[in-house]
């Protein structure tokens, strides 16, 4: 048993209350977002049942019977009610081919999660590393070089980096060396399959993070307490490592946390280029096939990821910066 002082107990209660309040605040966001998506999906032209039958004309009676089975003849708000009450019971519904949406999504979600996390790690390592280096070399040639390359990296759309890297690092490298260093499509090569797509997905974020690290660290290095520490004769390595880095981390963590949702939601183009069977591709396909429950399910999950990631970021934020208090 951990003994708590009354003050600690009080703080724990406040923290608990804070988390609960944040989660409660998330409910209208979740409801609003799903309602919005449901409405858009509802407005999609085309009959989800008829389009399941490929290019043959289905017996209209059969189609009507199937429509009835899935409540498709009910008004919009009734259908939404069926859906959302299911969600609160942890049930994402079933597809029009009678498969639970959760089963459809689970495997695809894993792929996208793997992709986003690989990207996040790359971002953290490369972005922070480069930014750190640039900040220490501020104003010199290396700094300018890094800044210029971030500009380029931000500007080139994923669409372009994706294809160019696929061609250069995937195909050409394989042709010239005979070894497949970076698989260019699918997930059949385990973690190696994710390297190239994750880098493409992370590209813009790496550049932003580099810039953010550089600015943040540079600012702190100029701060009075750092100057004092240096003046006192503390070794530079220690100053940078202990004092500056910790404070510089705050905006970086915020950025990384918020980026998880962006990466997952933005993965559709990367997944398409590299043929990764993730939720982006699944959503895209489901939109085509009018599998409304899958579409709404995926977006609901992404909204949840966004909400959770932000909550975690706020908590981390407080851990890193003792001055911050929860209200």
């Amino acid at each position: 048993m951990i003994r708590e002082t009354p003050a600690e107990l009080y703080e724990r209660l406040v923290l608990g209350r804070y988390i609960i309040r944040r989660l409660l605040q998330a409910i209208p966001v979740l409801l609003g977002a799903t309602l919005l998506i449901y409405a858009v999906v509802f407005a999609l032209p085309g009959d989800p049942i008829a389009s399941m039958y490929g290019e043959k004309r289905m017996d209209p009676d059969i189609v009507a019977i199937v429509r009835e089975q899935y409540h498709l003849n009910d008004p919009f708000i009734v259908q939404y009610w069926y859906y959302i009450s299911g969600v609160f019971q942890g049930n994402l519904g079933i597809t029009f081919s009678n498969v639970p949406v959760s089963e459809i999504i689970a495997g695809k979600f894993q792929v996208t999660l793997n992709l986003a996390f690989t990207a996040l790690v790359m971002e953290a390592v490369i972005g922070v590393g480069l930014g750190f280096y640039a900040a220490l070399r501020r104003g010199r040639a290396q700094d300018t070089m890094i800044l210029a390359s971030t500009l380029v990296l931000i500007s080139i759309p994923t669409l372009v980096t994706g294809f160019v890297l696929q061609l250069v690092l995937g195909v050409k490298l394989k042709q010239s060396t005979g070894i497949e260093v970076f698989p260019i499509a699918g997930v059949s090569d385990g973690w190696r399959s994710y390297l190239l797509p994750a880098f493409v997905l992370a590209g813009t974020s790496i550049a932003y993070l580099t810039r953010l690290t550089r600015t943040s660290l540079a600012e702190i290095l100029r701060a009075d307490y750092i100057r004092t520490a240096v003046a006192k004769g503390m070794p530079r390595r220690r100053v940078v490592g202990r004092h500056a880095l910790r404070n510089a981390l705050i905006p970086l963590v915020t950025y990384l946390g918020a980026d998880l949702g962006t990466l997952m939601g933005g993965a559709v183009i990367t997944e398409t280029i590299f043929n990764l069977p993730g939720i982006g591709q699944e959503l895209f396909r489901s939109v085509y096939e009018r599998q409304q429950p899958v579409v709404v399910g995926i977006v609901t999950l992404l909204v949840l990821v966004y909400i959770l990631a932000n909550l975690i970021v706020d908590l981390l934020y407080a851990v890193l910066d003792p001055r911050i208090r929860y209200e």
């Binding site: 923290l15 008829a50 089975q69 081919s97 929860y326």
Partner: protein, 541 residues
């Protein structure tokens, strides 16, 4: 408050949890014990495995390994009995089917005539809403099971199905139909074991996930659609006919042909049907006799909505449009040889095809323009197509052909799904030309005629052009009731002549089957229904 340990722990665990989610369970995708298996690429099956609900090629491929059909088609495209011992008729209307004895289900139960009757009645009943429902429309008593929406079927089964004894049953059709026996090789006519049905008389989900068949392979584990990336099968030692020469078969699910082709080159899969056009030149050059290029039963058309507009009424306009399409360059450049120029309404794969029968299919831009002007064809045409499955490229090419050869405007109307074109054609909100295609349900020349061009197919079939010609209907009916196959074919060819004259749709290309297999296997053969003949496949090492 200052942040406490509590906050740190919570934040820490949350981060950890997310991290764990990211790393965990990456292996649970059904790829167990694939060592030594013959691996074949498929796309994701659209549904679970209900034989009467599976009409798309991916699910059909899997079911074909698990079930064995009544009839097969040999290398000369001739019908041979497989599970059936004999299929007899004297008037093309009453058919007596006897199955060979000794065949068993994968659970050991004997295969009986009743299994067929149960399965067919199930699929034909509108209450079960099976996609293959229409296959049974020729059987007597079908109407009783399909009274229409909102009404309850008045019978439990079709009166035309009768069990004679354990191994024999009788099928009575409403009209004579000489091609009935060719239909029996199709998925929809597979039998179902007793265990497939639950207490409510419906096929259970458990069964649909792990179907018990009576064919060459049994499925190892329930298939979880969406999460499973592979379906593993093991040879059924109790199969009474000729058995395959290897014991493990695995279908690997890919969502792109390009990825699969990559994996085939890398040795991760062994068999791939339908290579992407971009792979053809490499496949031809590098695979040698491991590359298969054979005829396929599919046809691609461009159709005219004759039923809803008079714009294309003059047959000269349709002829001119047909002659303005450069089929040869399109099949060579856009499809890299995965299609062949069409020159008849009957596909070269089947008996009844006559090379060069379609004179309007010969590319002649000058004559086309002349004819088009002479007939006073419209200055602007619309061409609607769904843009998925690689249709976009050839539709654009056709549009460019018409634009430059006829000197007219062509507006390409993109649709996401073919069904949307159908909806708009039915509602008459779209009245332009449209792309269409046909893949046979059973290998008979008749299957290129009745379902697409007969008057009866306007409402319920695939006669999207709305072509209605009593002479045509009469000739097909004569073929259906003719006493011999030769006689039937004679009438079907005459019906084909009418189509070639009237051009309600214009045939543009025939599909080709472009498949490849790895060094690990040999003897890969693909049959008329685009299924691999597993009995002839051998492992090479």
């Amino acid at each position: 408050m200052r942040v406490t340990k509590g906050a740190k722990i919570i934040a820490g665990t949350a981060v950890l949890a997310l991290g764990l989610v990211a790393c965990g369970s990456a292996t649970s995708t059904g790829e167990t014990s694939a060592a030594g298996a013959v691996r074949m690429k498929i796309g994701e099956p659209q549904k679970l495995f209900y034989p009467g609900e599976t009409v798309e090629s991916e699910g059909v491929e899997v079911l074909a390994a698990i079930f064995a059909p009544l009839v097969k088609y040999d290398e000369d495209k001739k019908l041979v009995e497989y599970i059936a011992d004999s299929i007899k008729t004297s008037d093309n209307r009453v058919w007596t089917i006897k199955i060979k004895s000794g065949f068993t289900w994968h659970n050991g139960d004997p295969l009986t005539a009743q299994n067929y009757v149960d399965a067919w009645n199930y699929s034909a009943n509108q209450e079960n809403a099976q996609s293959a429902n229409y296959f049974f429309a020729r059987i007597q008593g079908y109407e009783d099971l399909n009274p229409g929406e909102g009404k309850t079927p008045t019978a439990k089964g079709m009166s035309g199905l009768k069990v004679i004894d354990e191994e024999t049953f009788q099928v009575t059709l409403t009209q004579p139909f000489s091609q009935f026996s060719t239909m029996l090789g199709y998925t929809a006519f597979y039998p179902l074991p007793e265990v497939a049905f639950g207490d409510d008389g419906k096929i259970t989900e458990e069964y649909a996930k792990k179907p018990i068949g009576q064919g060459l392979f049994k499925i190892d584990a329930p298939y979880n659609k969406g999460s499973d990336q592979a379906i593993s099968l093991t040879r059924y030692e109790g199969f009474k006919g000729e058995q395959p020469k290897f014991d493990k078969l695995q279908f690997k699910i890919y969502n792109s042909a390009e990825t699969a082709w990559n994996d085939l080159q890398g040795g991760n899969i062994d068999i791939q049907e339908q290579l992407p056009p971009s792979a053809i030149s490499t496949a031809k050059a590098e695979l040698g006799d491991r590359y298969i290029d054979q005829e396929d039963a599919g046809i691609g058309y461009i159709g005219f909505p004759l039923i809803s507009t008079d714009q294309y009424k003059d047959v000269r306009i349709r002829r001119a449009i047909s002659m303005a399409i450069d089929r040869k360059t399109i099949t060579e450049t856009v499809f890299s040889g995965t299609r062949a120029p069409a020159d008849d309404f009957i596909n070269p794969l089947l008996e009844g095809y006559r090379p060069g029968a379609c004179t309007a299919c010969v590319y002649d831009p000058a004559a086309a323009k002349e004819l088009y002007v002479e007939a006073g064809g419209p200055r602007t045409l619309e061409l609607g197509s769904n843009m998925d499955n690689g249709h976009k490229e050839w539709i654009e090419a056709v549009a460019n052909n018409l634009r430059s050869n006829l000197g007219i405007e062509v507006k390409v109307s993109p649709y996401e799904k073919f069904q949307q074109i159908l909806d708009e054609l039915d509602a008459k909100t779209y009245t332009g030309m449209f792309r269409s295609g046909w893949i046979i349900d059973y290998p008979s020349a008749e299957n290129y005629l009745t379902p697409i061009f007969s008057t009866g197919a306007i409402k319920t079939g695939s006669n999207y052009a709305g072509y209605s010609n009593p002479d045509f209907d009469r000739l097909v009916a004569k073929g259906d009731s003719a006493s011999s196959a030769e006689q039937s074919l004679k009438f079907y060819k005459k019906a084909d002549d009418l189509l070639l004259r009237d051009l309600p749709m214009i045939p543009v290309f025939y599909y080709r089957m472009n498949a490849a297999f790895s060094e690990h296997v040999k003897g890969v053969k693909i049959n008329l229904l685009n299924q691999v003949e597993w009995v002839s496949v051998e492992k090479a090492v």
